[in-house]
Amino acid sequence: MKFSVCIKQVPDVSAPLTIKDGNLSQDTDRMVLDAYSASAVEEALVLTDKHGGDVEVVLVGPDKAKETIRKALAMGAATGVHIVVENTSGLDSAAFAEILAAWHKKSDYDVILTGKQSQDTDAGLTGGMLAWKLGLPYAANAVGLTYDEAASAIVVKRQGDSGQEMVELKTPCLVTCSNDMNDPRIPSLKGIMQSKRKKVETVQLSDLGLELDALSGTVSQTQVHGFKEVPGREPGKKFEGDAEELVSNLMNLLENEAKVL
């Protein structure tokens, strides 16, 4: 079974950030493997360990993003594909899905995994868009995956609006993964050494019959114009003291000030 896992490189969202003239600036330009993509890689590794097969990771991004592909290879993915786009700033999920669709039309796979959203944009669109473009059955927000060999089907446990849903998808199919699915492994030293010898195929947009201008101009249907602060909450009241005092204070405030009881 071959898993193709779409991985994204994202800024480290835990680093402090500020907004200047509507632009984001961060303390570091450290880039990391998107946590949701990392869970997708982990899940693919677990399933291929159990049922055989290989994991390939595919990334659309600048030259610098190669380090993120290496990270996934060090976790245990067999091969990497780097679709080079030096400047992705004008591209939205629709454009990434278009590029990933063009790649997958000429590669083989049984299962495509993506993150259910990405850590920086929290869009959650690429997976569904890609599935549609490739005509694949899909399920989103998976918290567990199993493979039913007899039926050649992936059984997805997904988090729905009420409770968890078990959905069976015949391969080939696509699943978007929650980071609640697993704890992605930390690459071992051996893994890191081995990753240096693993193959990363470099692909240009022109190899896929695509052009950056068209991708940012017409395939992307949304534009980001800038950023602003999240409106702050009114400063609250903080109390210390013994439990009786704290509770009677709170009861009084909930009843008479906030009037929410």
């Binding site: 800024p11 969202v13 835990s14 950030l17 509507g22 984001l24 999920s93 259910k116 920086d120 944009t121 929290d122 869009a123 959650g124 669109l125 569904g128 868009m129 599935a131 473009k133 059955p137 399920a139 989103a140 927000n141 059984v155 446990k157 729905g160 609006d161 009420s162 409770g163 849903e165 078990m166 959905v167 998808l169 929650s178 609640d180 249907q221 949304t222 534009q223 980001v224 114009h225 800038g226 950023f227 602003k228 999240v230 909450r233 609250g236 009241k237 903080k238 109390f239 210390e240 003291g241 009786e244 704290l246 509770v247 009677s248 709170l250 009861m251 405030l253 909930l254 906030a258 929410v260």
Partner: protein, 325 residues
Amino acid sequence: MSSILVYVATQDGKIKRSSLEVLSYCKRLSEENGLSLEAAVLDADPARFTDKIASYGPSKIYAVKNPAFSNHLASALLEGLSSLISKINPRLLACASTESVKEVIGALGARHNAGVIPDVASFAIQNGSVNAERPVMSAKVLSKTSSSSDLVLVSVRSGSYDAVESPAETTVETIEFDFETAALKSLLKEVISSAGDKVDLSEAEVVVAAGRGIKDEQGRKLIEDLADSLGAAVGASRAVTESGLFPATLQIGQTGKVVSPQLYFAVGISGAIQHVAGMANSKVIVAINKDADAPIFQYATYGLVGDLFKILPLLTEQIRTYKAS
């Protein structure tokens, strides 16, 4: 091409409050922009919802009927919404950002070549384009995103707008939707719901959320007792759903659910940005934490610095007394 279509989601025989929030706001938006407002409900028995929807003022309601809509099957929702788009050709499709919507909105956008702006905190129509603000970077900042596509799909975070009735003359068109589950390549095998799913967390007016500080079964019991005294839904941080003390369905935050209750209790929760992303829209936030420097206190309306194991039993008792009086 001059209408706003609002998809009204239903669950367990009820309209989702978050859908009515979107419908109310779109009523205003339609009037301001000279667009008509239409609503769609997709259900096994949609007729039971049309009166209620009418009281929010759409000029027309599409009552789309098929048993497949009641069994959580994403492909049914996708096909249903897609055929409505082809039929009505709206300028804007707006809906509440439920898990089902999150699952289908990307595919729906790709299929109709639409601009998709998901999970927005606010949006408006200006000079023919749809402008929205949406939380990004773990909800640390808002990004200003716009689309001027012929069709724009927007999903809205719960609690972003108020649900306000505004009845108008409404017509209802019933559509017997033809949907063959047999042709599908995906199959819904079962829905596992846990006891915690009794109260719909994303709609609850009061939420009691547990963090790692509750430690064990004893802490869990204290949380359940407090929730019970308040008639509240129980929620949890990721640390707690991961430990298995509460089911994953109850997780609140960036990965979990977005809630916007009148009253939110964060008990033994440190206030990591990923958690706050799911609850910062709550009206009144009460934090109970023994660490006076815990980040959650920056968001709390009322912060109690103390041991939850001492505070909760007293609080539950006092709430019970208050409710009984």
